[in-house]
Subunit: 313 residues, 2 copies
Amino acid sequence: MNLPHQVTICEVAPRDGFQAEPKWIPTEDKVEMIRALAMTGVSQIEVTSFVHPKAIPQLRDAFEVATQVQDLPGITLRALVPNVVGAKRAIDAGIHKLKLMLSATDSHSLANANCKVEEALEKLDPVFDLAAQNNITVSGSISVAFGCPYEGVVPIDQLIRIITRYQERGVNEISLADTTGMANPKQIYEDLEIFNQEFPHLRFSLHLHNTRGLALANAFAALQQGVTHFDASVAGLGGCPYAPGATGNVATEDLVYAFEEMGIHTGIHIESLLSIARRVQKQFLQNGESFLLRAGTCSQLHSKPDHQEKLID
Amino acid sequence: MNLPHQVTICEVAPRDGFQAEPKWIPTEDKVEMIRALAMTGVSQIEVTSFVHPKAIPQLRDAFEVATQVQDLPGITLRALVPNVVGAKRAIDAGIHKLKLMLSATDSHSLANANCKVEEALEKLDPVFDLAAQNNITVSGSISVAFGCPYEGVVPIDQLIRIITRYQERGVNEISLADTTGMANPKQIYEDLEIFNQEFPHLRFSLHLHNTRGLALANAFAALQQGVTHFDASVAGLGGCPYAPGATGNVATEDLVYAFEEMGIHTGIHIESLLSIARRVQKQFLQNGESFLLRAGTCSQLHSKPDHQEKLID
């Protein structure tokens, strides 16, 4: 079985998780968690989002957060930016990598960004220019890439069209997001097979949600297509706005555990990560979910009980 | 991507789920649930276990349950039997398929069956004879096949030795159980590749637990090795005795959903199954877990909201 030997995980809890928290998290708490995460060995962190403070007041301290974590060594600081105003602020705050967002469907784009996909793309034009001028890396994300909660299955041609447009504007990393957990591993495998053929020079990364329990299966399918970049959120922080009680982001510790068990190096120290996850779960958790927090790793073997147990399998 | 077009799922909640319930479930409730499950289109049900009533008092009505579901058309009734006494009672009660159980390791065998693997195998000798005389199918199960909570990784040679012994005694279906959820998809893929080469005439089925969130990834890996038989438990009924709060059996509805989304026919009607799962969750659930119960299927599309939403991916 031919899988990558090494992967890069981008920790997204400080953006994707914190933006979903109803109550205000003080800037110093955000900074402290980013610092703690950096100590686990993770190499990329999505630290915040430079959106309008009225749209997401939870992240209105984006500039302060970003400037206060500039000293972290060896960490790529990524931020979500919706437009050129946000992009400019992100660059000024010392962000290394901008994440742009488009929806795969017009319905989702209208709900999320108040315009159709084509118009959203045009609006991003000055961001590409600004990033190029400043020599800043751009990750081009596509939301609901594997299924839209309003339109269902997304035609592959629609995805190819958006990826082509990103590529034309100099983007060399495409983040495919399974925003509401509608992907299945066969689809991931086959879509990525096509993308790898059509765009041999692009890097594809995956942003998976575990809404229907398939996130790790989808990650496994992606690994088989050579994908080496994944987003994840510690303790699964960050909810899914469509199905109440449904799981959102795949938990970083679950992804790290799964990869390491398969001999795939993540560079992340699982026990340090679990200790942050435990703290996050206590402090913030509403919708998050983590298998590892409940079950522990496999390496924690049990001592054999003295009494006879019941037949289990 | 070359996956099977069709799979067979054996519903194990009436045995694996009910044996874990602390309070007594009346025989008529058990029978009624088996009848309801049969209506979903599932073709195999593990209806009970013919163990000593002192070992598992929850299933002391095994004979009554089995005899009262004899009229179900087209359903293979399977039961777990630990020894020849149980096997005889199961056959007398009209069971179609006996499931035998061995542990992959001596430590687990001692804890579960009070003797080492070799001795447990010898004790099964008269069961094989009885089954052959009565022309009854036998499924040979191996617990903790992909990891033992006391010993860790199980050497592949140890598994090959047990499978060989089963084969020598006429067993043609081997059920590999990931009893405490220690398997990973690479391991499943590679182990099954070896088993398929070593035992080309045996059928391998999988009994997966979702303890660390990998059950569906493991199922996907098994599909890629041509596995077409899986156990599952409605609503994930049936706990894991080692890690409190940890998930046990993979939920049937999660497995059915995943397979059907990949175009793999299960013959099971997901909405009928979900309605039973909802009932089970209300009535019995302690340790069970189901993604589909929380998130619903993908086919339930949402109407687009009128208001503008926040940036999500």
